[in-house]
Subunit: 136 residues, 4 copies
């Protein structure tokens, strides 16, 4: 049975002062900034960034599901663990945000994405990405 999942990729960041809102914790929308950057880093790590740009492929988010579990404060160090999953022609990003110091889960984000071709039409997941999804 195909698992269609990648290994887990890791991105580190430190919460910044201007990301706090009037409640003194990182604003709810900023978690989506963190996960977006985790995806850019992942594409770079896979060596896909230039090739996606060369092919005029875009990755567009069609769904974000965020569960906020613990608040994040100034200077909290976070790890964003990201696992890819193929689901039909969608690429899912399973993000797990952890507080490095406490080891505790801060948030879970599932982002569902679709690839667009040069004409901005939905297309299949590029073959060069599929090789990173383990078939068992």
């Amino acid at each position: 049975m195909p698992l269609n999942k990648s290994k887990i990729y890791t991105y580190h960041l430190t919460a910044r002062g201007y990301e706090l809102d009037s409640y003194g914790h990182v604003n709810n929308a900023v978690y989506l900034n963190y996960t977006e950057q985790a995806r850019w880093e992942l594409f770079r790590e896979l060596g896909l960034l230039d090739r996606l740009i060369a092919d005029s492929n875009k990755v567009v988010i069609v769904e974000n599901h965020v569960k906020y579990i613990r608040q994040v404060k100034l200077f909290d160090e976070l790890t964003v663990e990201t696992q890819l999953e193929k689901s039909a022609h969608f690429l899912l990003f399973h993000h797990h945000l952890l507080n490095v110091k406490t080891g505790k889960t801060v948030a879970k984000v599932t982002a569902k994405s679709v690839f667009l071709d040069k004409q901005n039409k939905p297309c299949d997941i590029p073959a060069l990405l599929l090789e990173f999804l383990i078939q068992e």
Copy 2:
């Protein structure tokens, strides 16, 4: 049977230039900015803003579920329709984002929130808010 739902509140906005990302459309995280502001406007419209602050009540988002249906471009005018729903001690915000010109749905966002008291402990939905939830 109690419906526990409010009427629908409306907030208007125009997409701004700095909200676009390198794809030339409004970035996925910005939709959460829009819905957050719709909630602030709603609390103001209900006359609750000062009283929540006076009671040191905070509204914290514990879950956001965003479905992106159509992209938003510079100067697109949007309406955010918001309906409240009580679900146990959670307050749900059902946001429906529409493009004013086309009348088409741009996104749907469900935000699940919990109220915190002065000690930042979860508490019941304030009574002054419950009166806006229709009991049938």
Copy 3:
């Protein structure tokens, strides 16, 4: 003597909740968001937006000078008054941010910009813009 200045254009906005930082007032960087949007609105009002895009002209900020005079709070209504000035091949935007309710100045921002052509090379201010700069 040529004044090289335009008339004053006006853009209205209301400060949003997510624009506040942990000090409970609008963050210093957000003022640049406000002035950027005032410029987009101005270009639209002048009917230049589509033509600039059609000509692949970009307007790039090379300098921003912000004087913060009064803090801005949630729901404060602001007016951004903007006057254009030609200075050599630079286009200056003189922004004056006012609190609508109090009539008091909130900030003054001078943005110095340069136009880029299709090859991203600096070019003269487009002729279609010059007609809005009063020659006396």
Copy 4:
């Protein structure tokens, strides 16, 4: 003659995807996010963060002067060098943003700040900060 200047402090960052605007480079307002975070990091490095918070001291920016010299692209690594200077009761932050790979200057930002006490009234620069300003 007193120099009233500190040594140079350094903060590193990598430009993120969501910080790009529709021109494909880091938006002009984001440079102020970078310099704000450089200041938070600096206060932490000096061991002042907790003491400023304990004393209810706030640092408020009253002026920002930004010169944009080179554009910043996705994944560009930047160094923000920051030097403090005392000028009457103002604290100046001289920020120099450099592209790590090219060694070239990306921007120069001078932020003029004033300290506020518990009552949000302007006050002198806290004594615990003055010791980091070299008197010659």
